[in-house]
Symmetry: D2
């Protein structure tokens, strides 16, 4: 599929890469182009080439996790936020037809976060929303965790809703304290294998059950990795969220978690290139709740795109999930300086027989690669 | 789900019931209300009560198959057409919030069919499209079959496109000649079990491959019974439709059959209440191509509705398939005298917790019937 | 997947190729290796190379359709049958680890068919069952069609059951008479696009509803092309097969069509490389009813195998559908001279990390091709 | 479906109910029969009646969570273990055709756990395996958590493997320390909504990645609640479990997590009555890895059974998941004193037309409830 959009795509500041060091992620035998550090720092080179080669029109970029959330010092976090946003604006504006930006925000002070988001969305160019890396580290030893379901964050959510700035809730590495007994000797489980999703799905549900989406009906949230387990669990979540036992749970009594998906909550495919999981998600939350993403450079652009381009699925859902749903959720992408537009499946090369390939079937060895490569 | 719309729903003229006799369809031990004749003639009594009880807001009614297509005498067919349409207008206008009409058309003379369709769509009230019962019987012995892919029918398709009148292609009982050797001793296979679909799917593909949809891009076609096998066959149809072998096939060389679904071709669930088949159809042609229908009185209204209301599927697809897709395809339903409107899943009672049922889960014996009955 | 078995794979007799001429199937720009005639005649050359390259351990070969069924002259049909079987035995015995045989049978005389099948299964080597190409042409002008649900064929079905010889019901080109009005001007629909399946599914259901499978509980039937529409239609078939209306239908009154699948009726994937259709079939008839096949040389071996090898499906179903179900249905394949054996998913290279590829995930560009190529 | 087997079904000891108090789980307006305490204590009354009414032939009973795992005092835990097992043997032997037992085990001392399991499996009657409620509470304040991936538990796993006793890993309420900051103010998320699964899936993967299943290839593990998110995550788990980064992870380098499912790891449907989730699980891990269960009395027996009995799925998978897979995993159920046997779909009332209902389809209002109730 041509003209895909991807929205969980990381970059690093040259100045902060050490702090967000991905050391250990890069295998010993990796080529220079495969080094995470190189790829996080690069935007207009190898990354763009791969976007060209794999039919990705635009990436929404975000500061490498844990970003500001990893800094327990408030001043340091706020400084990183504004400098990252300034840097990212510069980068995006070098090529706004191909890149857009998520604001990086310190979440120590909700009012300051709201102000910085306002600055990005109204004073700066190229910003279409924000990305938060799970909880905010805080406290003298960095082990205090701030969660955004607390009522004091309403000032932030109000701003995000008013600004029509969707907020992506992304995972982060845990502080040492979390589950220390459980996982200190099993680091391979604690990160992207399971721990990331197990923490983010709790945080997202905490925000929803606190009534945040009810108080701010214009607020939109996004989670990655095929929904951090939630689409598969949809029945059980709603079945078990016992309103009578927990009368002080603030979420509307007359709504199910399911009801928010496709209206205020959306998922992406980042890092979970599984057709059965996508099919299950489409069944449970609808294709309008789903968007393609990669998770570059923690995932391979060709891997993600080959998977997506060869899914045997109808053209309507493919073009919506691969592109148009993202434009509907982030309408700023259809304005200056990006100027993207809704496209048809045909525009995106899904379906049809072109380029003279009017004979197919019997001897066409590539036909089962149903989606045409132009 | 409340406010469902159903669009393959039969009625009979009192004067023509004998000609379309459903004798043999009614089991010996049927109650009076279960007699096909009774139910075909009834509109505002038992039918409407069942609609009320099962959440069907509106039915689009059509003359019982084979209707005009079964009359090989052109005058008789044209007379039946106009009298059926006049009768149906009267019936629909008695309760236009609950009923709408498909025009019955003689297809002997395409120009006459176009004129009658024009009369229904512009001079009469309550008509939103037309329904044709497969081929038109013709010839002195009734064994000549007229198919609508012939270029002389372009005048009819032009009118249907100009009038924005979607055309439903419905099956019919065969003339004696068809497959005589194959099926004369196996009548149980020749009708709704397989024969209906096997003939209608051929006729539909004949129309598409003749280029009719290309010449009239505003034309919309509908087929019932979960697409008469086609969604399941989508890959193989396109894979095997060899353009090089058949250079005089008129359909656009740069399109696949798949490309027309959701744009110009739509299916309904009439008489095929299978969740695996619906899930397969959603995968292959998209939920926007699918609409709920019953096939009353050849099917039970409660059967169809209990099935649909308990499908475990996201609320977006349920409300689109159950209602809104039909309104988008037949926008006249949103105007006088029907005045229906697009509704949300919430409006239709899908999702949510209402009527005080704020405790559920642990002991709620009906929770797994996920869709709330108000 | 390594060690796949394919069972709807054609060959042609040098002496009868003209009679079964595939002229017109080969595109003008085809390379010599792509000519249908060449590929039908070849067994041990290009075909075997492609099997090696694509992980096909064994093909069960069958005479190119319409084969004996296309000969309305009984003597000619019977002569072709025995000569084809003699020729095929010779070919298979040149490499019985890689090939097995379906008997070609004239169906003019059921007793003669039974005798020839007995000769193949007991006197000859390499035969594991029979393949029939739909109805038998008969009569002076060739337009009489013989169907095998007639009671006089019981002698044949008895033999097939006693010999434990599954019978594959394969499509064929129609005689001129069939549906002449419907399809004479639309040849592109009459063959593999829809006509093949529409006729074979009727013939199969005729055999089942005639009670053949009830009278011969050891009889097994196979149909190709993902079940010739039937898995998708399973609900509607059983729903509409009204026993009260047709009291002289001989099939057991206490069984559904569905009940025979996986016990006496099986399908293959030949020529229908659609994951949504396979997933629907697994839902409706179970993975134990499904077997991989290609339909070579009317389909490309790499096309079929690339599709199958990259389906995202659990290893148990993949190895059963790709191989082991076929061995269970044709236990002669596990005896002399073939000596194949049941293999695990691991044996077949499904799952696992081998050949030193112990680092994967982050930078492994081929990981989403989940099934390992050794 | 008749003759279902359910295997995550709780009971309480009269003496220990206070300790495992389910207070708060029962809504204020519950009828006496709906009180959790009543239902946990009852075995042969209301429970058995509901089993009769809903087609459940046998339940494997287990001590109400957290059971022995909740007792941080070793002596208390071991005493509870033996007394619970003695009590359960008595109960099961009152009606061994309808009940079987999972051993309750203290996991403070792996050797003692192995000995008690041996006692249950060899000296007592009615035991077919064991059920562990996640980690073992330990330490003076009860906040130490013991996980069973530690090498010192190998003596226990060895015994379970030697005894052919599958081990069910069940969730439990957390100790106060776990995630204290995250969840102390959000108790509605910490239990069955998400917290249970998020902890059990980590514990299960810890055991697998520690190489336990490799060292004990006869060991079988079971998890409930549709696999505690794992089937949906299968691709991502294997994709992200980076062997190069974690060279001291002991699991076999040449295996994927996926490879263990259906061989050594199995799931049940307890408390997650979602057809899309079951369909996804069948795709990802195969129907042979799945077993029906209820989670009584925390779930309603009719809820679970109505859901299961009306799933539109092929008869082979239904009877395997509903019954036969369990017998294959627990072959002791097919011996004295239970003497259950493998049954066909037909035996279980799936498919077929019986009891004189030889007319169906057209007017059969219950036909879409496809599975026949006898």
């Amino acid at each position: 599929m041509h003209f895909k959009i991807a929205l969980e795509e990381g970059f690093a500041l040259p100045s902060s890469l050490a702090q967000n060091s991905p050391i250990g992620f890069t295998p010993a035998n990796a080529s220079p182009e495969e080094h995470l550090s190189t790829n996080l720092l690069d935007i207009h080179g190898h990354r763009l080439r791969q976007m060209d080669e794999n039919g990705v029109e635009l990436m929404i970029l975000s500061l490498n996790s844990a970003g500001c959330q990893g800094l327990s010092d408030q001043t340091a976090a706020e400084t990183l936020s504004s400098s990252a946003n300034d840097y990212l604006e510069d980068q995006v504006m070098k090529n706004p037809k191909r890149f857009a930006a998520f604001a990086a925000l310190s979440m120590h002070d909700p009012k300051q976060a709201a102000d910085e988001l306002t600055r990005c969305m109204t004073k700066k160019k190229g910003f279409v929303g924000a990305l938060l890396n799970d909880f905010q580290s805080s406290g003298p030893n960095g082990n205090t965790m701030l969660f955004y379901d607390h009522p004091r964050y309403d000032v932030f959510w109000q701003a995000a809703a008013d600004l029509r700035a969707p907020v992506y809730i992304h995972p982060r590495t845990p502080t040492p304290l979390i589950n220390e007994q459980m996982w200190k000797d099993r680091p391979w489980l604690n990160l992207s294998v399971l721990g990331f999703a197990n923490r983010v799905n709790m945080h997202l549900l905490a925000i929803i059950t606190a009534g945040v989406l009810d108080r701010f009906p214009d607020l939109k949230l996004v989670i990655g990795h095929m929904g951090e387990h939630i689409p598969f669990e949809m029945y059980r979540l709603d079945h078990k969220l016992d309103r009578a036992r927990f009368p002080n749970m603030k979420m509307r009594k007359d709504k199910l978690i399911r009801d928010y998906f496709g209206e205020q909550v959306f998922i992406t495919t980042s890092g979970h290139f599984s057709t059965p999981a996508l099919v299950c998600s489409i069944s449970e939350i609808g294709s309008k709740s789903c968007m393609f993403s990669i998770d570059y450079p923690f995932e391979s652009i060709p891997n993600a795109c080959v998977w997506y381009d060869e899914i045997q699925l109808n053209q309507h859902d493919l073009v919506d999930i691969g592109r148009n749903n993202c434009l509907r959720l982030f309408p700023k992408l259809m304005q200056e300086p990006h100027n993207l537009s809704i496209k048809s499946a045909w525009d995106c090369g899904i379906g049809g027989l072109r380029n003279g390939e009017t004979t197919y079937g019997l001897f066409n060895k590539s036909f089962n690669h149903r989606l045409m490569k132009q």
